[in-house]
């Protein structure tokens, strides 16, 4: 099917990229990651592939980007 590439940064934030998932469906995986990591979605960046691939950048529940 597809893959999730999850990057856990040492400052506690999380970034996620979907691979092999086209269109808006990949947005669903932002919610999956929220549940997996008890995290809160802070920012979603769409990739250049015009709505085919979506790059997700998430913050963990610590809201580190608030500062």
């Amino acid at each position: 099917m597809g893959k999730l590439k999850i990057k856990l940064l040492p400052d506690g934030t999380i970034e996620m990229e979907t691979q092999g998932i086209k269109g808006k469906k990949c947005l669903d995986y932002a919610k999956v990651l929220e549940q997996l990591a008890d995290a809160k979605n802070e920012k979603i960046v769409k990739t250049d592939e015009y709505n085919q691939y979506v790059y997700l950048e998430l913050d963990d529940s610590q809201n580190l980007s608030d500062n």
Binding site: K7, L8, P10, G12, L36, A37, Q62
Partner: protein
């Protein structure tokens, strides 16, 4: 820093006509008319109580355990589980001068305990007890039926005890107790007071203080981080964490469960050392969150029909997980 004593039960819990008449939830006059007892759990033993009472220049010792003070308060001491509990009331007029109309019972109680702290050179409240303060108010309720009707009207359903002379309930995460000693008497109500732990740490002599917002929201991870830095005297309550670290006093507080902690650092002697320490705490907290998140994800993907395909650690110490969605 003063003790937070202002946390009243809502007016309708004292007099069911109150809100209807005033359209206000509370005012100071109402408090003065109805608040008649403050109970304080202390960490004092008999020798401490005796020492304090000797140092207060008491004008009148009513009984062995009851004292009339010259600030308009009456203190009665009761032994409770090895320590003493203070029952404080405005002084009765027949023993003392008439109290001034602007007499502030709670403020005088606050000052009294500051005085205790100064005399014993330490905090005297029992911070390990969840029942540090109880405020007792007179009410207009004469029957249990009236109380239950009022609670029902206010949609308060969490009634934990219901007997002829006692009704206990929880409301807005606080415990309340309606009680009466004799059947003919009106009920009074006890209101549990939760106060900030740092507010009762007394005798602080500031060198420098620093206040800042933090990124920290996870209580358990923050406590773990502080413990890893060898923090001492860690006190925790619902929204506060207090500790001592490198001779500084750190108080983390937040407004609600979801928000990030604010930090108030006190007794800072060396600003550079403080900055370094706070940076270290932030780095360590981030690493602890990273570790916690890593464990959570690995545990939870098992239940999601997903498979860990690979993992590696980048040069910047990021952990990269590739998960096959199956």
């Amino acid at each position: 820093m003063s003790i937070i004593l202002k946390a009243f039960p809502l007016g309708f819990l004292i007099n069911h006509d109150y809100e209807q008449n005033t359209k206000k939830s509370y005012d100071l006059k109402f408090e003065r008319e109805n608040l008649n007892l403050i109970k304080v759990a202390t960490n004092m033993k008999l020798e401490d109580v005796n020492f304090i009472m000797e140092n207060l220049k008491i004008p009148y010792k009513y009984k062995n355990d009851k004292y009339i003070l010259n600030n308009g308060l009456c203190v009665q001491w009761t032994s409770y589980q090895g320590h003493y509990c203070a029952f404080i009331t405005p002084v009765e007029n027949k023993f003392f001068r008439k109290l001034p109309p602007n007499f502030d019972f709670t403020k005088q109680t606050e000052l009294l305990f500051k005085n205790f702290d100064v005399i014993l050179k330490r905090n005297t409240r029992n911070v390990n007890s969840k029942e540090i303060f109880y405020y007792c108010y007179k009410t207009k309720f004469k029957t249990r039926y009236d109380i239950l009707e009022e609670l029902k009207k206010q949609k308060i359903e969490n009634i934990t005890r219901n007997t002829e002379n006692e009704v206990r309930f929880r409301y807005n995460n606080k415990n309340y107790k309606f009680k009466r000693d004799e059947r003919k008497e009106p009920f009074y109500i006890e209101s549990e007071q939760k106060i900030s732990l740092v507010d009762i740490i007394s005798g602080r002599k500031n060198v420098t203080t620093r206040s800042l917002k933090t990124n920290f929201t996870n209580k358990e991870v923050l406590i773990k981080t502080l413990e890893e830095h060898d923090a001492k005297n860690i006190h925790v309550d619902e929204l506060n964490i207090y500790c001592e670290l490198n001779n500084m006093q750190l108080w983390y507080s937040k407004n609600n469960e979801e928000s990030a902690y604010n930090l108030e650092a006190d007794k800072i002697v060396n600003e550079d050392e403080c900055t370094q320490l706070l940076e270290d705490l932030e780095s360590e907290y981030g690493l602890n969150i990273q570790d916690l998140t890593y464990k959570k994800i690995l545990e939870r993907i098992k239940n999601q029909n997903m498979r860990l395909e690979s993992e590696h650690v980048d040069e910047d110490n990021s952990i990269v997980l590739t998960i096959d969605l199956g």
